[in-house]
Amino acid sequence: MITLTIDGTKVTVAENTTILEAANSAGIRIPTLCYHKRLNPIGSCRICVVEVEGYANPMTACTTPVVDGINVVTNSERIQKIRKESLQLILVNHPLDCPVCDKGGECTVQNLVYEFGIETAPYQLQKVERRSVYATPLIRFWPDRCIMCLRCVAACRDIKALGAIDVSGSGYDSQVSPVNVDKCESCGECLRVCPTGALTENLSRYKGRPWMTKRVETTCTYCGCGCQMELNVLHERIIGITTRESKGTNRGSLCVKGRFGYEFINSEERLTKPLIKKDGQFHEATWDQALSLIAEKFSAIKASHGPDAIAGLASARCTNEDNYLMQKFMRAAIGTNNIDHCARL
């Protein structure tokens, strides 16, 4: 174990811990931008710089491992000035177009600009026309908003082991591009880790600012991983799906189906009324008519052929409560154990 001092507090952590992790474990906040818990440290933004006593240059807390006995200062006037300066340099590549940005209200850049009281962008460079290329039509890329933090590139490499996107070009002309389009799975991991509005969801026709939508925590409806997610609801429609790092085995990740496979919910093709078939054609019916007919037919089959002439298939797509009632219905109301579901398929 290693003991160091951060802002006057003694902190003891395991070897190979970074200064940032050590500070977090002691409840000391160091502002970050490119750092993300699930990714290998990137160290591109310089927002998390700290001073270490005895060293002339400030160090990035997210990439610097702790050393026994060091004395770290996270919040001096000098550090604050460097952070503000770094942020102003980042704004060279980021217009303050928050009023028209989907991310407004839950954007790390916006929050930091507010926190550091930056009111103007003092540095201007000649505007370079950037092409909006990206690997998938489900995600919109806004190259003018990209601050080159490289979280998206790291997520595609570190979490998905795909490497579908990377930096192309060099210097001021460099930008994130699809370098390996065939590898892209449209999982949206890049979208999820983008700390600003450079990547936005491009699927829903309905848009809502974060504070306009209701977010309902639930469990994904596709495979057995059981990912935890939030349905974003606007005017009784699902307009997007978000996740939280702290919730579920998925730790914020989703696959293409989980993140983008929600269009069926609001589909015009959904069944909305009970239907009864007469002469080969379906006719709309009331619940009363449909349920009466089923009760009559099942009762008749049971009376003439016994309960085992009726069978039921429950569903691995339905809830535990639905399935419990379905087997109870078959066993108690019909009187047969002819109940199964699609587990075998």
Partner: protein
């Protein structure tokens, strides 16, 4: 699964077989990649297809489809010969080892290689990599179970894990990834013909009596029919009424021509679903139900975690939650069900299913709980068989290799294996709606090896006819070395190329799972 998903981060070696994890369980695949790249785990993939995970594997064994028991016994043979087995664990925690030792004796590397097509040196490398690792985890899915000897193959995998002392330890286990969001829960709830909720046998009079008292009716002691057996019984005229909730057997079941004929013989078919599926079209009455975003409840995932589903929006039109529809129908049939909400149903489940006894909605708001959770202050069980096996001692079974039910011949020279692709889900009733996912994967493809394609005069993009003894479909070809020669792959998502017209309904005698992973076909340019 015996172990939680995140446990693979503690595994020294991970063996994945019969699972195209990156396509079917992408989040689990993230963990496997993290284990390999950040934790230094070894990865063994055993699969006839060069699935994406092979790119990250240290060893890839490409077995002939349906020969799994042979390579598994072969690995055990080598592990025992090399003295890599966990002798203390075998002595203290298991029984039946002598019979296993005897059974695997004849599975010499040379013999196994002849059956499976796996080169001898690769078998040895894999055996050493699995055998030397402590702990090592085994992951499998339907590539193992959808065979006529699926149950035996699972037991063979359990033998392999127990020989190395890998069950009941962190980072170990044998872990079947469940394919559907709540397949675990549907089984737990007793939506199975032989068991009541929490796997309580219908043939056990004491347990049946418990349910009889709670439900106020006498219950049948005769185990019922499984899904494929129900179809057979309908065809024979023994089943006359069928009530299907949220399933699409007219696309998902093997040998569709037969299923369709069987359904036509029914006197009365009720289908309750969110879309007009192929099965709903065949119904006499269709009932509209709410989807997951429109109702409250719980799903139980692969890890046995019971997790909340929450209502976000109202159901469209007059659609209702399944539990509401079933309650209303039951009441009509003279067996009243009066529940105000799913929470009340969960209270009843907890009172009757011992493994769910400690699970309440109030607790699920605050904590993650995996069953078994026998009491209100029990934390739940993330790992099974920890200090001892659920049955006491782990039982080794002597398992023998047997060939698939239908092997290729002159007329049908290729093996067809089926599965899913990343972008779609089961019969596509949800994922084929909307543009998002369909821009990524708009059509069905049959994957075929370049050598086979050349022999048959087929190029990528050409339409081909695929036929088996049971049917014929037309589909576009994709020539790829993902497939070995002699084997073709199709998904079952597309009604336009319904692969289950071809598949074989032959069943595993114990699990009654059909052999969807191997049947004989021929392919011709259309």
């Amino acid at each position: 699964m015996t172990n939680p998903i995140a446990d693979v981060l503690k595994s020294e070696t991970i063996l994945v077989t019969g699972s195209n994890t990156t396509d079917n369980h992408p989040i689990f695949a993230n963990y496997i990649k993290e284990a390999v790249f950040r934790k230094g785990a070894n990865l063994i993939v055993v699969d006839p297809r060069r699935i994406d995970l092979v790119d990250h594997a240290h060893i890839w064994l490409r077995q002939r489809p349906g020969t799994d028991i042979a390579w598994i016994n072969g690995l055990i043979h080598i592990i025992l010969k090399e003295n890599l087995h966990a002798a203390d664990y075998i002595r203290e925690r298991t029984e039946g080892f002598a019979a296993l030792e005897k059974a695997v004796e004849k599975y010499t590397p040379r013999h196994v290689s002849e059956i499976t097509g796996i080169p001898v040196p690769d078998l040895r490398k894999a055996a050493l990599m699995y055998g030397k690792a402590r702990p090592a985890s085994i992951l499998y899915t339907m590539g193992i179970t959808q065979h006529t000897n699926g149950t035996d193959t699972v037991m063979a995998l359990a033998n392999l894990a127990m020989v190395c002392g890998n069950i009941g330890v962190e980072g170990g286990g044998i872990n079947p990834l469940r394919g559907q969001n709540n397949v675990q829960g549907a089984c737990d709830m007793g939506a199975l013909p032989n068991v009541l909720p929490a796997y309580q046998q219908v043939s056990n009079s004491e347990l049946r009596e418990k349910f009889s008292r709670a439900w106020g009716v006498t219950l049948s002691d005769k185990p019922g029919l499984t899904v494929v057996e129900i179809t057979h019984a309908a065809e024979a005229g023994r089943v006359k009424g069928l009530y299907i909730v949220g399933e699409n057997p007219l696309l998902s079941d093997p040998d569709l021509t037969h299923v369709k004929a069987a359904f036509e013989k029914l006197d009365f078919l009720v289908v309750q679903d969110i879309f007009m599926t192929e099965t709903a079209r065949a119904a006499d009455v269709v009932l509209p139900s709410a989807c997951f975003a429109e109702k409250d409840g719980t799903f139980t995932n692969s890890e046995r975690l019971v997790q909340r589903v929450r209502k976000a929006i109202p159901a469209p039109g007059e659609a209702r939650a399944d539990w509401e529809i079933i309650s209303a129908l039951s009441t009509r049939l003279g067996y009243p069900m009066n529940y105000n909400n799913p929470r009340e149903i969960m209270e009843e489940i907890s009172s009757l299913a011992p493994s769910y006894a400690g699970i309440t909605y109030a607790r699920l708001e605050k904590e993650e709980i995996a069953w078994p959770c026998p009491t209100l202050n029990h934390p739940g069980t993330r790992m099974l068989h920890k200090d001892q096996f659920v049955r006491g001692k782990g039982l080794f079974q002597a398992i023998e290799y047997a060939a698939p039910a239908e092997i290729p011949d002159d007329e049908y020279p290729l093996i067809l294996t089926t599965g899913r692709v990343l972008y779609h889900y089961h019969t596509g009733s949800m994922t084929r709606i909307g543009r998002g996912i369909n821009e990524r994967c708009p059509e069905s493809l049959i994957e075929i090896n370049p050598a086979d394609a050349q022999n048959l005069g087929i190029d990528s993009g050409m339409m081909v006819d695929v036929s088996s003894r049971r049917g014929k479909v037309r589909v576009k070809a994709k020539v790829t070395d993902r497939l070995p020669t002699g084997t073709v792959f199709m998904n079952f998502h597309f009604r336009e190329a319904a692969v289950n017209l071809l598949t074989n309904p032959a069943l595993d005698p114990v699990s009654k799972i059909p052999e969807l992973k191997a049947c004989a076909v021929k392919v011709e340019a259309a």
